[in-house]
Each structure stands twice: as C-alpha cells, then as structure tokens.
C-alpha cells in the first residue's frame, strides 16, 4: 500500500459524517481512526513528502518516532471519542470532532512550521465548534473567547515563523530554542496552547462549557499537540522547568474549591501538563520520554475521567458538586470506571499515571532540581486530593442528591468507551513496556522497584488520610454554588471596566471641547453679524453722491498741492 497522508482518513471520516446517517455513519466514523492508525503503521520512520509552495519547500509529512507515537495516540483517542459519542445525532458536532482529531494528526506529522501553522489554526476553528456545541449563551460566549485566544496563538506562531525564516533558517520544524530569532514568539504560541500560567484560563473557561462528548475530544488534542510541539522545539529550555512547576502547583488550589466537576478536571489537566512541561524543560532523554509518555497516559485517564463526568452530566444534566452526590447507587459501573481513572491520574502503582509520572519525577530528582522535585511531590499529592478523591467522592458518594431518584447508567456506548479506556489505563500500568517501546528514546527504566512503589503509596495514603480527617472535622471547604476569579477576570472584568472608565473620562473631555468650540463659533458668528449684519458698520450702503463729493475733495486737494 502506498503511503497515505495520515490525517486523511479522519478528515474523510468527517466528510462521511456530513453525507451519511444512521448505522452507516456509525460504521464509517468508527472505521476512520482505525484506517488512520493503519496508515501510521505503514509509514516507515524517515518518510517525508515535499511540496513547493510560493517558492518555499514545505514538508506536510515527516515521520519519526515522536510523530508516530502521537499519531497512534490521537487515533486511539479519536476512536474512543467516537465510541463515546455513538448515541449522538448532532451532525455539526460529530463532523467537528473528527475534523478536529484529523487536524491534530496533521499537526504532529507536519514537518515544517508553515504546515504546522495551518493545522494549528484549523485545530482552533474545529475545536471552537465543539466548545459551542451546547448552543446556549454561556457556551457561545465561551466559544468566542476560546477562539480569540487560540487565533492569537496562531498569529504569534505565524509571526515567529516569519521572523525565524527571514533570518535565513529553513522552515523545517526541529529544535528551535529561545535564542533563535523569533524563538520567543513561537514559544509564546506553544505556551498559550499548553496553558502556561496567566494564559491558561481559556482552558478552564471553555472546556467545562462544551457538551459531554465535546469535552472528551477537547481534552485529548489541543494541549497534547502543544506538548508535542514543545517537546520538538524547546526540549531542554530551562525556563520550562519553572513554568511547568508553577503549572503543576497553582491549579490544584483552584481545583480544590471549584464547584463544576469538569472545571476541577480542567484545572487538573493544567496540573498534568505542568508535569510534562517540567519534563521537557529538564530535557534529558529520560525526562522527555517521561513527558511524552505522560501525555499518552493523560489522554487515556483524563479522557476516562471526562467521560465519566460526561456520563453524569448526560444522565442528570448537572455538573456542580454542590448539586450532586450519592450516584453510586444508580450508576455503580460509571462510579467504578471513574475510580479507575482517578487511580490512574493519582499515579497509583499498577495504574497508568504511575509509570509515566515517576519517570519525570525521577529525572527531576537526578538532575538536582531539589525545589522543583518538592513542588512536584506536592502537586502529586494534590492531584490525588482533588482529582483522585474529590471527583468520585462528590459525584458518586457524599450526601444523596435529588438526582439519585432519577439517575441510571449512561448509554451502552458510553460505558464501552469508558471500559476500553479503563482497561488501557490498567494495561499500561501493569505492562509499561507496551508504552515504553514506542517512546522517542530507548528506555532503560523500570518504575516498579520497592522504593518507588512504597514511597508513592505512602504519599497517596496519607493524602487520603488528610482528606478524610479534614472532612470528618469539617475543615474541608464545603461545595458552594459559586465561581472563582482567575486570570480571565482581567479580560472579562478589568479590561472592560478600564475601557468604560477611559471612555467616561473621554466623554467629559469631549463634551467640554464641543461646548467650548460651539461657544467660540457662536461668538464669531455674533461678531460677524454685528459688523456685517443689517445696520453693521461694514455692511452699510453709501450714497453715490458722497463718493462724488469725496472724489471732488481729493481732486481739489491734488490741485492745491500742485500749485504750491
């Protein structure tokens, strides 16, 4: 079979979702990621395809171990997402989902910055459709804000690319670094999509507003493409270690108090991205392997958690912790699957998070970043606290909510998608070689030694103990109907208020200026009227006789002067 551009099957799947309906559509949509993954499998590392465009040599296809790994990952995520949304009849959402996944695949196989930019922007547009999928005012507002931020990231990427290329560099997308011309612009573009601190709020704003199925897709692609881009372009940039540690730590405070459970997961997504960014910043083979491996396991366990919360939302129409609880009585399977995801994200031994997160933490410790190591340990304990315990506890246990009466298990396809994800989480956790074999560098690492397992279990068990005691002694903050201000306050409140203040001041100055000029004008008009108006001195008509008299006087005077 000749090499096929690996994004095409998913994009054709999106087209098929437009043209077909019913069972045929389901079959075609399920087939698309499978065929796509097969295409990735047929591509030998080192394969490239070139096209000439406007005098630039572009490489829309470049195959190596890093792109292949993400290629498989995205097809797997797309497949799970399609299974999860099989019950859905909403054509625009289904089309956008597959097109979005296709663009993500295109982005990781793009061999040059211009091709990357094209897919980068297509990702923004297709995913914005998913953010708006619910169709209410909140979702539309979030979608517009989301699109603005994503397009800004694209513009920065394009600007950086132009500066980079004009300095005589080839457009090939390899290691860039911050010293390269345009490097900071490109890093900023990647940083926005990776949810760096202060530019992270698009994620926690938009993802929880999407539909149950839309959020599952959103969680899997945009941020992972950004992590891929960082790993390729900026591995070993030390700044990223500190940025990543900040990302790992600050969102967990928000996650503890956030009420919307998918918002809790969105904050915890940033926290997981923080681990990956630290790994990329450290830049050793073990660290980058850990970052990439963690991106893979995160797609699975975060996807699983989002799916389980999506199932709760689908069944109850509610996502706020303050309004949920007790659902284990009616949704035991969902609760169990959710707990598998929770155990994985918390990095329990034998679950997937453990085998990837421990690589990053080990690399950080061996490179001598002591404070960063402590920060990551704190973040790891915090993850268990908010994602591992809070999510299942407040959704499925805690006090009985009014939804318990009417709740039931979600549609079978949702359960199947969650079960496959859960099986993969446990599979990777128990047999990490499955994953390690696909990593960009050869791995000589085993997570399962007694020290690792014991210390991790101690950390987690005592986090759980802390949660339990705080809950028992009523120190734990109650779930309240509320939102919490974050960086978006700056552009949703501060900037509009500042503009309003400026315009109010300007209006004062403006009206003063206007009345002053009106007064001046009317004064001028009065003056003109006085002098030139009827009876004005300059507008009086003179009789011809007086002119003749004056002429005669002048002539007489001339005559007199002439004589003397």
């Amino acid at each position: 079979m000749p090499e096929v551009f690996p994004a095409l099957p998913l994009l054709f799947g999106a087209l098929a979702a437009v043209l077909t309906r019913g069972r045929l559509r389901a079959v075609l949509m399920l087939a698309a990621p499978v065929v796509g993954a097969y295409c990735v499998w047929t591509l030998a590392p080192g394969t490239t395809a070139h096209i000439e465009l406007l005098g630039y040599d572009l490489t829309p296809l470049r195959v190596d171990t890093l792109s292949t790994l993400f290629g498989y990952l995205f097809h797997l995520a797309a497949f799970l997402g399609v299974v999860y949304s099989l019950h859905l009849k909403d054509t625009p959402q289904l089309v956008a989902s597959l097109a979005y996944a296709g663009c993500a695949v295109g982005a990781v196989f793009a061999g040059d910055l211009l091709s990357l930019f094209i897919f980068w922007e297509l990702l923004a547009v297709t995913s914005a459709v998913l953010v708006c999928a619910r169709g209410d005012d909140r979702a539309l507002g979030a979608g517009v804000r989301y699109l603005l931020v994503q397009v800004a990231s694209g513009v920065l990427l394009l600007a950086g690319t132009i500066v980079y290329a004009r300095a005589g560099n080839s457009l090939d997308f390899n290691a860039i670094g911050t010293d390269a011309p345009g490097g900071w612009l490109i890093l900023a573009a990647f940083g926005i999509k990776s949810a760096f601190p202060l530019v992270h709020n698009w994620l926690t704003d938009a993802y929880p507003e999407s539909s149950p199925t839309g959020t599952v897709f959103l969680t899997s692609f945009t941020t992972k493409v950004a992590i891929y881009a960082l790993a390729r372009g900026f591995a070993g940039t030390e700044l990223l270690v500190y940025v990543g540690a900040t990302m790992a730590c600050f969102p967990i405070f928000y996650a503890v108090v956030a009420n919307d459970l998918r918002r809790v997961l969105a904050y915890s997504l940033i926290n997981q991205l923080g681990f990956m960014v630290v790994g990329i910043g450290v830049g050793t083979q073990l660290a980058v392997n850990g970052a990439v491996a963690h991106a893979c396991t995160d797609v699975l366990f975060k996807g699983l958690l989002m799916m389980s919360m999506g199932a709760v939302l689908h069944v109850t129409g509610e996502m706020r912790a303050s309004e949920l609880g007790g659902l284990y009585k009616k949704m035991p399977k969902t609760a169990l699957l959710c707990m598998v995801g929770a155990a994985s994200i918390s990095a329990f031994p034998l679950f997937s998070g453990f085998v990837s997160k421990s690589m990053i933490v080990t690399a950080v410790l061996h490179e001598g970043y002591d404070w960063i190591w402590l920060a990551l340990l704190f973040a790891a304990a915090g993850v268990f606290h908010h994602a591992g315990i809070k999510i299942p506890f407040f959704a499925f246990f805690s006090h009985d909510s009014k939804h318990v009466k009417t709740a039931h298990e979600p549609p079978t396809n949702m359960l199947v998608a969650m079960s496959i994800s859960a099986a993969l989480c446990i599979g990777i956790g128990c047999f990490p070689r499955m994953l390690y074999g696909l990593l960009p560098y050869a791995v000589d690492y085993s997570p399962y030694d007694i020290t690792h397992v014991l210390t991790q279990m101690q950390l987690l068990a005592f986090s759980a103990l802390a949660f339990t005691s705080l809950k028992l002694y009523h120190v734990y903050p109650p779930e309240l109907r509320s939102i919490h201000l974050d960086a978006q306050w700056m552009y949703r409140r501060l900037a509009p208020s500042a503009l309003r203040w400026v315009f109010l001041r300007l209006r004062g100055i403006d009206s003063a200026l206007r009345s002053f000029s009106l007064a001046t004008l009317s004064r001028v008009a009065d003056g003109v009227a006085r002098h030139h108006g009827p009876g004005g001195i300059l507008a009086r008509s003179w009789p011809t006789g007086s002119m003749m008299l004056w002429m005669a006087t002048l002539l007489g005077l001339t005559l007199l002067l002439y004589y003397f």
Partner: protein
C-alpha cells in the same frame, strides 16, 4: 432519601466507619514498612523516616487551608460575569437562586 427503600452500602454508618478504619490500617502498615524496607535514596530528605507520608499529609492539609484562604478572596456568585444567563441545569427548577 432515594425513592426505593433499598439499603445501599454506605447508607450504613458502620460501613463508612469500616472504610475509614481500613484506610488508617493501610497508613500504619505503610509507615511501618519504612522500618523494614531499605529504600534507596537520592536526596538526603528522602531518607528521613516517614518523609513521604508526612509530606503527603502536611502537603494536603496546607493545600486545603490555603485553598480556603484563596476562596475568601476570589469566590463570587455564579452569575458574576453574566447576570443575564443562568447556570445550565437551573432552568427546570423554576429559577431558584
């Protein structure tokens, strides 16, 4: 509370107590293993007895206390940004606030 009168696992306080006791037992065993198991150590603090256990517990307590403090500063009502649009899920309740 639920419509049917079926008793579920955690409706019985005894079962909740059992879970908590189980957790306590697990914690004790894990710390106890520090006596028996010789851990290999990269950073000197790792060697301190029960370091990970203590760090996990204290870290989480600090996390929650700081988060409570954070809440005092940044918590707002649900309609803070957009008073016109309610929260999804509230429609069928007839606008209770």
């Amino acid at each position: 509370m639920s419509g049917d009168d079926k008793q579920y696992v955690f409706d019985k306080p005894a079962n909740v107590r059992r879970v908590i006791q189980g957790l306590l037992a697990v914690c004790l065993v894990l710390v106890g293993l520090d006596f028996v198991v010789h851990r290999h150590v990269v950073h000197p603090w790792e060697g301190v007895f029960g370091f990970y256990a203590m760090y996990g517990f204290v870290g989480c307590v600090v996390l929650v206390l700081l988060a409570k403090g954070l809440r005092r500063i940044v918590m707002r009502t649900e309609d803070y940004y957009d008073p016109a649009t309610g929260y999804p899920g509230d429609e069928e309740e007839g606008g209770d606030a």
